[in-house]
């Protein structure tokens, strides 16, 4: 597709439930990023992939968070045993360049809004 696609757009999870969030980047984009945006805050970095390699996962808040991109295209962010503080918009972004901060920056998806009740 023309843009970065994320699904689902909205997800309500009961506390303790596992969730999986999907990101379809722009075809051919090498870099893929996940960000978490809490209400009233800016996006915060979670993890970065270059093709299928996860080069940076320093932003993942706990071992309940896991991301993968097995074939270097689609990525999944999985959150196990969700807690209320996980409620946020999860943004995926992709970039054509192997270094993510090219002149055009990233292309972001519209995000998945996760609400944990």
């Amino acid at each position: 597709g023309a843009g970065v696609s994320q699904s689902p757009r909205y997800k309500v999870a009961k506390r303790g439930q596992d969730v999986a969030l999907r990101c379809d980047p722009i075809s051919g984009h090498v870099s893929l990023f996940w960000y978490q945006q809490a209400l009233g805050q800016g996006p915060e970095f979670l993890t970065y992939f270059q093709n299928e390699a996860q080069l940076d996962k320093s932003g993942l808040p706990s071992d309940r968070f896991f991301a993968e991109r097995p074939e270097g295209s689609v990525s999944t962010l999985k959150i196990q045993r969700t807690q209320q503080e996980d409620s946020a918009v999860y943004l995926c972004a992709s970039s054509l360049f192997s270094r993510g901060t090219g002149a055009q920056g990233y292309t972001f998806g519209s995000g998945t809004r996760l609400t944990v009740v």
Binding site: G42, G100, T101, G111
Partner: protein, 114 residues
């Protein structure tokens, strides 16, 4: 520790006038700066960027100024149009292999008054 700060949560500007959005940073390793615009229920979209080797970058109605000694950058929009109403995020990165992540500010909501 907020490394990128946007101290004005909101700003209202008359249509046709200049909008000035400000951003301060604390990490001296940052050497690349970007502005993103965000509409409700959409992801941020890239607006303009500047490298630390420059102090100004222009793109149409948008100009970004960088003052490295003050660790301050600003986005100027002139003339402001109703379609500019959105949340604007300042972001920064320290380039170099392995430093791919952006650090964002908390955003400024700009409202253009017709």
């Amino acid at each position: 520790d907020q490394q990128v700060k946007q101290n004005s949560p909101s700003l209202s500007v008359q249509e046709g006038r200049i909008s000035i959005l400000n951003c301060d940073y604390t990490n001296s390793m940052f050497d690349y700066f970007l502005w993103y615009k965000k509409y409700p229920a959409e992801g941020p979209t890239f607006l303009i960027s500047i490298s630390s080797i420059k102090d100004k970058n222009e793109d149409g109605r948008f100009t970004v100024f960088l003052n490295k000694s003050a660790k301050h950058l600003s986005l100027h929009i002139v003339p402001s149009q109703p379609g500019d109403s959105a949340v604007y995020f300042c972001a920064a990165s320290a380039q170099g292999f392995g430093n791919e992540k952006l650090t964002f500010g908390t955003g400024t909501r700009l409202t253009i008054i017709p």
